[in-house]
């Protein structure tokens, strides 16, 4: 049996890995040059506790379960998570009422450990938050991760277990016979398939339309962010939320896994034809700045290292849409993955494979006997002891050549990222964190370009930042 997953975001990648546990042929088709570069690349990176999804919603069904699955998943796939905990802060009576409502909702959603904290407790743990705070909802299971790393790790592990990955390949059409899909047509090839899982993120509605299956319409909701230097990373220890409104969870202040401070996101609804609009705006960035100061006064914006935007795939129902199609018998939609899609993804992946495919569609899979659930991340030499590192350098001198000084990435790590599939500057960046630090590649970009050139046997003019036409240099200055 051949099962194709469309879209290598966190959802599609985890589904693909889940499928690799069984004796089936798994195809993962992704239009970008690398995995995890859709919605998964730009979001708040939070493992939500699960108190803010309406009771009975599909979101609530998967959020807290997904959250708890991350502990084991991060151990198996060797990516980082940090259980920082989160606070929702209330500054007036109305907001206090919101906290009480969230607490009840959280308890119904089986979120463990929720507590209401008074001002003094909050300030003793988070001394930098606005001292006018009155009450806070504490959620100890909330945490942070690197979302693209979850996708990368899942795909690397799946490849180890037989996955066929097709990058830079866009699904453009389908071949059908008797109400079933028999083939996927991409811009490059045709793939014969028995089952198709649509995890195409923002574009999942368009895929479903092409297939002729049910779908919910998606429109992008933009979220803009400002990332600040590591020097400010310890400003807060946990994730600081304002009291949520009808529309969104609000603009937050939170630490990132690699020690920076993230501010955002805004929430701006865009028409459905702007799914490629990842631009930041002056209004958006100003809104972020203005808002976060109410939560955490005195943030120094001159320490910004980057601004970016992400797009949530939002639907009128504001809920995930995960189900086998009624009209096309071998097609499954996993769409409308707005927040907390990252958190829910591991639970969704298991649900899709175990319940939808095996129980509802009655597909019979036998477990793969030699499935290996473990993947090792790229070794970080700067974290080794001096003795271990010394030994590694004796074996491979490149382990002692620091390439990215800000995030302490050695040449061996860059080479390893390329061996694992990085073909672009961003590919190296998202796998190693090189160029991610305070100088944003000022010192290391040109060196990484040379390493890519050498390892891939390509001229630098053929190496791109992130997409086919995002060239970096245009030949030589002189022959």
């Amino acid at each position: 049996m051949r099962i194709a997953v469309i879209g290598a975001g966190v959802v599609g990648s985890l589904i693909a890995r889940e499928l690799c546990r069984y004796d089936v042929e798994v195809l993962l088709i992704e239009k970008n040059l690398d995995v995890g570069w859709g919605v998964t690349k730009a979001n708040s990176a939070i493992l939500h506790a699960g108190y803010d999804d309406p009771v009975g919603s599909v979101r609530s069904r998967f959020c807290s379960v997904g959250n708890s699955m991350y502990t084991e998943l991060s151990r198996e796939l060797d990516f980082e998570i940090k259980r920082t905990g989160s606070y929702v802060l209330a500054f007036n009576d109305e907001e206090i009422a919101v906290l009480h409502r969230l607490l009840k909702q959280g308890e119904k959603n089986n979120v463990p450990g929720l507590e209401l904290h008074d001002r003094d407790t909050i300030l003793s743990r988070e001394p930098r938050v606005n001292p006018e705070v009155k009450m806070g909802l504490w959620a100890p299971t909330a945490g942070i991760t690197e979302p693209w790393m979850v996708a990368i790790a899942a795909v690397e592990n799946a490849l180890e277990n037989g996955l066929k990955l097709f990058l830079n390949e866009e699904v453009v059409d389908f071949e059908r016979q008797n109400g079933r899909i028999v083939g996927i047509v991409t811009n490059k090839a045709k793939h014969r398939v028995d089952v198709v899982i649509n995890a195409a993120g923002l574009f999942a509605d368009e895929i479903a339309k092409r297939v002729g299956a049910e779908f919910v319409p998606l429109h992008p909701r933009k979220g803009e962010y400002i990332l600040l230097d590591k020097k400010l990373g310890s400003t807060v220890r946990s994730i600081i939320f304002p009291a949520p409104t009808e529309k969104s969870k609000g603009i937050l202040v939170l630490p990132t896994i690699d020690g920076g401070l993230l501010l955002g996101p805004t929430a701006e609804d865009l028409p459905s034809d702007r799914k490629h609009d990842l631009s930041t705006t002056s209004q958006g960035l100003e809104a972020v700045k203005g808002f976060v100061l109410k939560l955490v006064p005195g943030i120094d914006f001159s320490m910004a290292v980057k601004t970016f935007a992400g797009l949530r795939p939002e639907s009128p129902q504001k809920d995930f849409f995960i189900r086998a199609s009624d009209s096309v018998k071998n097609f499954v939609n996993v769409m409308a993955m707005r927040s907390p899609g990252l958190t829910a993804a591991p639970a969704i992946a298991r649900y899709v494979v175990e319940e939808i495919l095996q129980q509802q569609l009655g597909l019979k899979f036998s477990p793969k006997r030699d499935f290996n659930p473990l993947r090792k991340g790229i070794k970080k030499y700067a974290e080794l002891s001096v003795e271990e590192w010394q030994r590694a350098v004796k074996e491979s001198p490149a382990a002692g050549r620091m390439v990215c000084f800000c995030n302490e990435v050695t040449e061996v790590e860059i080479i390893e990222a390329i061996r694992r599939g990085a073909r672009t500057l961003d590919g190296v960046k998202f796998r190693t964190r090189a160029m991610f630090g305070r100088c944003q590649g000022g010192f290391c970009m040109s060196r990484i370009l040379k390493i890519l050139e050498r390892e891939l046997g390509l001229d630098a003019s053929k190496i791109v930042l992130k997409s086919p036409s995002s060239w970096i240099i245009d030949g030589k200055v002189r022959e």
């Binding site: 400002i226 990332l227 020097k231 490629h276 990842l278 631009s279 930041t280 705006t281 002056s282 958006g284 960035l285 914006f301 001159s302 320490m303 910004a304 290292v305 980057k306 601004t307 970016f308 700067a382 001096v386 590192w389 010394q390 350098v393 004796k394 001198p397 490149a398 382990a399 002692g400 050549r401 620091m402 000084f405 302490e408 050695t410 305070r438 100088c439 944003q440 590649g441 000022g442 010192f443 970009m445 040109s446 370009l449 040379k450 630098a460 791109v464 930042l465 992130k466 997409s467 086919p468 036409s469 995002s470 060239w471 970096i472 240099i473 245009d474 030949g475 030589k476 200055v477 002189r478």
Partner: protein, 405 residues
């Protein structure tokens, strides 16, 4: 391993410091993370280096080469480790060095920190818009072109009219990239008049003053840059936007002293953002001395060399047993943006570097009971003056002012 002096960084400052320490008979190790010594000089292939120090006009690589030769005259005393990154410096005077030859700890008696500066990245400007390829800082562009022989694009706009920005405008033009303009948010050029003429006017490159980039566009490679006029508070004025169709944007918007490795060991100066130093080059941690662009951003390499020598001299005297007081604080006053050093320790006359706040035709510099008139002052050009020791005695605090006359 053990040494008397560990010099971190072998740019102009580090090389000069090492030589000064070796002259005092000490054992010196210089660690440089690049493959060769010289630092930023190696990529600055234009001339304009060494007029004060050598009384000759050299290119950056030539200037570096002279010091490389001098270093090699002290092979007994100085060991230069290139391709060697100093990863950590601990309170117990032990450093962790990482290189393809090995990872090892080095114990030293004194450190001279000369790590230079880094460039402000694009992201720190918070310019709205897309995130395409084709946006480079000047230093990256310079390295790609001058060292790696790469052409970075076909049509470029430059942000920042400091000397580096203007020199890059000329370089790009000479290498076949059309430069459509240089954008500067101040109402006057940020660099030397000489460079306005030699790098822009001579090549017909327009300079847009009181202007800034308000948006960048391009889903893959850069396609358009939107520039607008700004008011006195540097706020863009709506309706003044102008679109440049370019595939390349080069940013030359300032250098930041590299201090992060020492963050928890020494204090910094709020104005320079560099390591707060006394006139001996000593930091707040008595066994750490510092010099060059990691203390304050200097215009001329000649000054950096002199500061390196000074730090090398006092650091060696410290190893030999001499002790210095931190001294009295030197603070910027009227019309002064920043001053260096940050403290005056009464062992010698004071060599003072001053950057003014705004262009001035004529101004009196006052430091203690010392006064001198300067003409044609601009913020981009540092004033350097030697203040005799006796003019500074008895002061608890030294305020530096520039009164317009």
């Amino acid at each position: 391993m053990k040494t008397d002096v560990l010099v971190i960084g072998a740019g102009a400052a580090g090389m000069a410091a090492a030589i000064a320490a070796a002259k005092n008979g000490l054992k010196v190790i210089v660690a440089e993370r690049d493959e060769i010594t010289g630092g930023i000089l190696n990529q600055c292939i234009h001339n304009g280096f060494g007029l004060h120090y050598f009384r000759e006009e050299l290119t950056g690589p030539e200037y570096a080469e002279r010091f490389r030769e001098r270093l090699s005259e002290y092979t007994d005393a100085i060991q230069v480790l290139t391709d060697c990154h100093v990863l950590k410096l601990n309170r117990d005077k032990k450093a962790l060095l990482v290189s393809p030859k090995g990872v090892f700890e080095l114990e030293t008696k004194v450190v001279i920190y000369a790590a230079g500066a880094r460039e402000r990245p694009f992201g720190s400007l918070m310019i709205p818009g897309d995130r395409p390829s084709g946006i480079f800082t000047a230093g990256v562009a310079q390295r790609l072109m001058n060292i790696d022989n790469r052409k970075i694009g076909n049509r470029a706009l430059i942000v920042g009219s400091g000397d580096i920005g203007m020199i890059m405008a000329r370089r790009l033009t000479l290498e076949g990239t059309e430069v459509v303009g240089v954008v500067e948010r101040l109402p006057y050029p940020g660099g030397l008049l000489r460079n306005v003429i030699q790098c822009l006017k001579d090549f017909n490159i327009p300079l847009y003053l009181s202007s800034t980039v308000v948006e960048v566009r391009g889903k893959e490679r850069l396609e358009e840059v939107v520039v607008a006029k700004v008011d006195e508070q540097f706020r863009p004025i709506p309706g003044t936007e102008k679109i440049f169709k370019v595939d390349t944007l080069v940013l030359s918007v300032g250098l930041i002293p590299q201090v992060e490795m020492l963050d928890s060991l020494v204090s910094l100066d709020a104005r320079t953002r560099g390591i707060a130093c006394s006139s001996t080059g000593q930091s707040s941690c008595e066994w750490i001395f510092a010099a060059g662009n990691c203390t304050a951003i200097f215009d001329l390499v000649d000054y950096v060399t002199r500061e390196g020598e000074r730090a090398g001299e006092y650091a060696s005297r410290y190893v030999i047993g001499e002790r210095f007081t931190r001294g009295v604080p030197i603070v910027p006053g009227e019309n002064v943006m920043l001053t260096f050093p940050n403290f005056y320790s009464d062992v010698d006359d004071l060599t003072l570097y001053v950057r003014c706040r705004k262009p001035m035709e004529r101004a009196v510099l006052k430091v203690g009971s010392f006064e001198r008139v300067f003409e044609d002052l601009i913020p981009s050009e540092m004033i350097v003056v030697k203040v005799p020791r006796q003019k500074l005695t008895g002061l608890g605090r030294i305020e530096v002012t520039l009164q317009e006359v």
